[in-house]
Symmetry: C5
Subunit: 82 residues, 5 copies
């Protein structure tokens, strides 16, 4: 898992149906010193995190499917803590 900070939500005009009920968060990845590393990921939310919040992100598909409870979800990264 990595530490991230929520930069905002992502809205896509055309997208696969699987994402229609998912809240997608654009997250800056942080170093141990909680400063941005310059990298980011787009993760599905599971804890109702808001912009600016420091969060825990797991970037593994099977974990993301467990956390969201949707075994066939096409997701890879998920915010699991804040």
């Amino acid at each position: 898992m990595k530490i991230g900070r929520v930069a905002g939500t992502v809205v896509s005009t055309i997208c696969s149906p699987a994402y229609e009920r998912q809240r997608l968060l654009l997250c800056d990845l942080l170093g141990e010193d909680l400063r941005p590393t310059g990298e980011y990921t787009i993760a599905v939310d599971s804890v109702y995190a808001g912009a600016g919040e420091t969060v825990l992100i797991i970037d593994e598909g099977n974990s993301a499917r467990q956390v969201t409870g949707i075994p066939e979800a096409p997701i890879r990264a998920v915010v699991v803590g804040s």
Copy 2:
């Protein structure tokens, strides 16, 4: 997921049968500022994205197989939103 921009389609003269009906997109990966990072990926299309469009790309095999609906597809990255 990452943000990308479609640079064009990829055509291969000889390829595995699994790719014969897939549209392959060469996508530049973008940073949060929507500027190219210098990296790219080749992803299967699922939203009929055109050249120059900004897209969402998921780079995980099981997700790609879910999105395309082909459980045995040998694909890893897929364009899921634009």
Copy 3:
């Protein structure tokens, strides 16, 4: 597997229920010379490692689920030796 050093434990005020009984370790990744590389990961503990200890970390979801014995655990990295 990689070599790491435990920097501390991670506590999250709001988190997915799957993590409630897991001890999460913030680990600095080390090079072969046992000096920090500047990268880190957050791994589930399986050997009761303490802060400052040099540990072995495996960063693969299916392995992490085997080590913890929880087939549906949404975890990716686990400390497996010290």
Copy 4:
């Protein structure tokens, strides 16, 4: 998927039985401009690619097993187009 160029074949004097009937290709990874990035991978061949050929490489275990048709093959990268 990534673009690569076949640099040669890999022959191993002692290897796991699973590789005995596989042709292993040493491939330079290329950028979008088709110039070497300095990185490489060793991939199983599925299209009879020759040295110097530009190829498409997929680097995901489950895809590689689908392309080769051997569900239990211990392979991760495969050349799927040229």
Copy 5:
């Protein structure tokens, strides 16, 4: 797959039971020119490779489980040729 060179074996005083009968090799990753890249991995041995030997390493959990023949092994990287 990548090319590596065995730097030595890894011994852990406390470790998960799954590793008790596995020989763990610390391997320097090499470039195509067979010079060290500065990166390393710790891989399970499957070909009785010795220190200083040039080896083939596959870094994917399902492959590693196939090569070792232990479906539930928590391993990710394995030395498959030398």
